[in-house]
């Protein structure tokens, strides 16, 4: 994790794509967020505090995986390389992924997961609601489908934040600590990166900063109801995920996610 990176030579995102390539690049960012968070949520199966939560987190991950498949398929259709969803998921290296740092963070305790989910689902809910008006008809259709799913994810996380925050002293303390752990990763969700800005300009996407106030208002009201406190701004923040700059944990995540496909390229079953 670091501040801004100084590039020696040409930075990978120095040229903002246009036309179909722009739709492809934008869908790739959204798809990578969904894919990597789906991978993290899958880690909860057999690890959650109760079997119903194994199923819930698995189901939420499955929704995100479905969204990722549709988004990566759309990206591969338009980026001119002819790659399919599996090529993009399994055969790209770390620097080619465009997800934010929030979704790649290693699994913490259950309170951490609910803190991450309550923010990410609130963000995705606003994002997909806005994208139903995208000028790309496929992206608009994916968003219209996903927004209904994310409604359930957000509700699930909110119920848990309420229960843990307004629960026992132990659950309250751990939920409060979790809100502080995720804090440095939130600003990045609302950064107007080059691809999103160009996509918003073209009517394909939405400006991430335009989602900020609605998301924060939603979570802030919930946190108050849960007798918790939104932490003050942190002294550092993540950045660079949209340029392919990731945390150390990302390499380990990709190794686990990709090794079967890479060990047996082209395998079918």
């Amino acid at each position: 994790m670091s501040g801004d990176v100084t590039w020696v030579g040409k930075a990978p995102e120095s040229v903002v794509p246009e036309g179909d390539s722009l739709v492809a690049a934008y869908c790739l960012q959204l798809g990578d967020d969904a894919l990597i968070y789906a991978q993290r949520l899958g880690e909860w199966i057999s690890r959650a505090p109760q079997i119903e939560e194994d199923m819930a987190l698995g189901n939420i991950g499955l929704d995100l995986l479905g969204q990722a498949r549709a988004l990566l398929t759309r990206s591969g259709e338009l980026d001119g390389t002819g790659r399919g969803e599996d090529d993009l998921a399994y055969f790209r290296d770390e620097r080619e992924f465009r997800c934010v740092h929030l979704v790649q963070q290693p699994r913490g305790d259950f309170a951490f997961e609910m803190a991450r989910m309550v923010w990410f689902a609130a963000y995705q809910r606003e994002l997909y609601a806005a994208l139903t008006g995208s000028s790309d008809p496929v992206l608009a259709a994916i968003a219209a489908k996903a927004v209904k799913e994310v409604d359930y994810h957000r509700d699930h996380a909110e119920q848990w934040v309420l229960r843990l925050g307004d629960g026992t002293q132990e659950s309250h303390e751990r939920m409060q600590a979790a809100l502080e752990v995720v804090l440095p990763y939130l600003a990045e969700l609302f950064d107007d990166d080059a691809v999103s800005s160009a996509a918003a300009e073209a009517g394909i996407g939405v400006l991430p900063s335009s989602l900020h106030d609605a998301v924060v208002a939603r979570v802030a009201a919930l946190v108050e109801r849960a007798t918790l406190t939104l932490p003050d701004d942190s002294r550092w923040r993540s950045r660079g995920g949209r340029r392919g700059v990731h945390d150390q944990c990302m390499g380990y995540l990709l190794a686990e996610m990709q090794h079967i496909a890479r060990s047996h390229p082209g395998a079918t079953w």
Binding site: E52, E53, M55, A56, G58, N59, I60, L62, D63, L64, L65, G66, Q67, R69, A70, P137, V138, A140, A141, I142, A144, K145, A146, V147, K148, E149, D151, Y152, D155, H156, Q159
Partner: protein, 168 residues
């Protein structure tokens, strides 16, 4: 009715009757995921829509359609279309009855209307009848069940746990 017309009617009926692989008491038509069937010579074009983005049954449903069409000596072309997004409001009365008899509480109507508006439903406060004893004295155990489309509930009168098809 000519033989050709009869064959067309038969294959269309067979596609409409393809069962959902997860809940085989309900057909894809009654579930509302079959959008259209068109017979064009040797080709049967079928449009279906997924319940959830990540529904793992879609491949099995495509294969099921392919198999019944092949049994009629024809070839299926299945198109999976996302828009308009599926809603449980597209489930037929017959489908709802079949679910209830199978022990799954059917989805409550009006989901599509609610989802289109800006106001989210409070998903926790709803009256759902137990499909076993009919009591409305039931509570939710988990919003997420054995498949994406179902939630877990229990009856506070007959004490049986049961699944509910989530309204979406």
């Amino acid at each position: 009715m000519t033989a050709a017309t009869r064959a067309r009617t038969d294959v269309v009926a067979a596609v409409r009757a393809v069962p959902d692989p997860e809940v085989p008491v309900i057909s894809i038509e009654d579930l509302g995921i079959l959008r259209s069937v068109e017979v064009d010579g040797e080709v049967v074009r079928v449009v279906i829509t997924p319940t959830y983005s990540g529904c793992p049954a879609m491949r099995a449903i495509e294969d099921g359609i392919g198999a019944v069409v092949a049994a009629h000596g024809l070839r299926a072309e299945v198109d999976v279309r996302l828009a308009p997004a599926w809603t449980t409001d597209w489930m037929s009365e017959r489908g709802r009855d079949a679910l209830a008899r199978f022990g799954i509480a059917p989805p409550q109507p009006g989901a599509g209307v609610a989802a289109a508006g800006p106001v989210s439903l409070d998903l926790s406060v709803r009256r759902v009848a137990c499909p076993l004893c009919g009591s409305e004295h039931t509570e939710q155990i988990s919003r997420f069940g054995s498949t994406s489309c179902k939630a877990l509930r229990r009856c506070l009168d007959c004490h049986e746990p049961f699944e509910e098809f989530k309204a979406i």
